[in-house]
């Protein structure tokens, strides 16, 4: 489980956490999806080891859990970046230029849609639909919904996040990311 820095779980053994999640849901019928959802919420993604452990505990074959995890768009089987950016590509957002907004985020973060930037800071997703159609185009930036996003605003959001991350890393001074040219 301990692939990279899983800051949220260092306090406890990941296996114990998974066990607790499975136990909590196992009283309900058809709990596979809620189990996977909570595991993703805790770890940011669903690691192969987690699937094995759920299978051991519930008796549901690994292949079946894997097939469920790959069927639903919500589940991620790869670790994600520090910031998750989901650009809404619903109809209203599409008409309002969501493609341009996705492009702007790709250029600003270096991540391709569906992937994570090399520095591990940003994961970029395309989603539909966040249901804020009258305020299109809409972006969910780390669980905060932003309305009427422009390419400029996209760049500003990324820049601010980069600066915040750099500050966290080296609280004393400016990092190399701080002086990005616009």
């Amino acid at each position: 489980m301990s692939r990279k820095k899983n800051t949220a779980v260092t306090a406890k053994d990941p296996v114990e956490i998974i066990d607790a999640i499975v136990r909590k849901h196992s009283v309900d019928r058809g709990a596979t999806i809620p189990i996977l959802q909570e595991i993703q919420q805790t770890f940011g993604y669903i690691a192969p080891e987690a699937i094995t452990r759920i299978s051991d505990l519930t008796g549901i074959p690994e292949s079946e859990i894997y097939s469920i995890a790959t069927f639903y768009a919500q589940f991620r089987l790869q670790p994600v970046g520090k910031y998750i950016i989901s650009v809404c590509h619903g109809t209203a957002c599409h008409l309002a230029g969501a493609e341009k907004i996705s492009d702007a985020f790709e250029h600003a973060t270096g991540a391709k849609a569906g992937g994570t930037s090399e520095d591990g800071l940003f994961s970029l997703e395309k989603g539909a639909c966040l249901g804020c159609c009258s305020l299109a185009p809409v972006v969910n930036f780390n669980n905060e919904t932003h309305a009427r996003v422009t390419a400029d605003k996209a760049q500003a959001l990324v820049k601010a996040a980069r600066a915040a991350a750099a500050k966290e890393k080296s609280p004393k001074g400016e990092s190399q990311h701080g002086k990005q040219e616009v």
Binding site: I68, T91, L95, C133, L135
Partner: protein, 600 residues
Amino acid sequence: MENKKYKVRVGLSTCGIAAGAGKTYDEIVPLLAACGITPEKTGCMGMCYCEPLVEVIDSEGKSYVYGNVTADKAARIVEEHIKGGHPVTELLVLGTDAETEHAPFIAKQHRVLLKHLGKINPESIDSYLEVGGYEALTKVLGSMTPEEVIAEIGAAGLRGRGGAGFPTHLKWKYTREAAGEQKYIVCNADEGDPGAFMDRSLLESNPHSVLEGMIIAGYAIGATAGYVYCRAEYPLAIRNLRTAIAAAGERGYLGKNILGSGFDFSVQIREGAGAFVCGEETALLMSIEGKRGMPRFRPPYPAQKGLFGRPTCINNVETLANVPYIIREGAASYSRLGTENSKGTKVFALAGKVKRGGLVEIPMGLTINEIVFDIGGGISTGKKFKAVQTGGPSGGCIPASLGDTPVDYDSLKAIGAIMGSGGMLIMDEDTCMVDVARYFLTFTCDESCGKCTFCRTGTKKMLEILNRITEGKGTESDLDLLEDLAKQVMAGSLCGLGQTAPNPVLTTLRYFRDEYLAHVRDKRCPAKVCKALIHYLIHPEACVACGACRRNCPVGAITGAKQTPHVINQDLCIRCGLCLNSCKFNAIEVASGAPEPQEA
């Protein structure tokens, strides 16, 4: 010291928060506290286009609604209106004596379901009780048999609001009559159609109304347990519903022996995991059972064999929210609204290139033009109204020339579209209809569960053709091939997803064939949307060489120096449009057709 002179409400639904209502709320709370006022949190008033919204109600009950109240404007409202007693007229959207452009948005609607949205506090059951909440449930459990409830819903003429329009009372009757001890009621809150947000707003802003409808439905069909299957993309709706379920349980509206009637009922929430197909009822049930959400063959219908093999009734959020009103006010009062075969009101999510977008509730039978122009205020861009798209990926594109069509189940079906769940996207001249068709096919192709070959492969092939056309590589015979494939996909698919996926293509081919022909014959995109068929040009006489475009170009395709008009290298240009957005001098033009050689 409490200030009894004014009440203040701040709308905090997802739309509002996205527009900055959270910051407005944080700003206004201390300012109002100094005046002895605690603002109330409410949900969505449906005026999404001018969020954040703040409402001030004076001691006589007169309401003043302020729009676009960003944090910086909050102080002015408190200073001038609350302290000074003078409404800030220029920020008012409703409640002013002067004629505002906003008034028709609400005045032309007929709000039954939306009546209390943005007025009540969705997190407070008392707030719901104050407006007659749970009266219908009390009436049902106190004085009606399940059969009488079903008959009342039948007399009202309520049809499913999820899109298919099946008579609700029949669904209830079949489930009631099905053999089996354990039965379920499932509320379909998997509002997957992109462009639709009626259910989100209802759940966020008035969750108890849906819950009350669900409990009544449970009583009518003989179910003791219910599930709400809600999209995970709607965290606030889930949170407010969870609060509502807990509160209803505490007050005895849910749980064992509800209101002393001997009727037991419990509700659980299941969060969807991002699969559009799960809006289809059998796929939805599979998903609740913890499986891949793949539709199955019907019969047996869920009414006979549904969730965990038990008789199950699946109703949409809006359908259930209608139930308390019908029971409380009586079937006759409900069926007076609407048309012969489409009774009651319908909530639409109006969005796209329209001035006033938001939630619109109208009696069925109003025309498209009345919705777009009278309520929506016309086209936001000042350009011409081109088309309206209803029913999301399953629906069709209706041209402006058919704007007189009444909006009801049958009239829309007759012109090749569907009413659908209520998404209504307005398009102007700048919208490319081929691109719209391609957009929807991208969506359905991506969301096809893969069970039926025609849906899995057919939508993919259709998408490939549409991609080809938008890239300027299509031929006229591609249009016939599209039509042929569309028919095959419709015939060869098990569920609604595949059966309706070709609709956007068929309706655009039917009503906007010229545009397809321009793409395949002239290699031209009339709306200047399709990237392969446009190019960007800088007009040297208008360019002031400010360098903004050069700095914004992500691929370094623009060159130029101080006082030298800039030039775009067409070979490097990826047509992202960032230069166009950055130019403040209108020097950049989107030109139709493939790029011409440019003199440097």
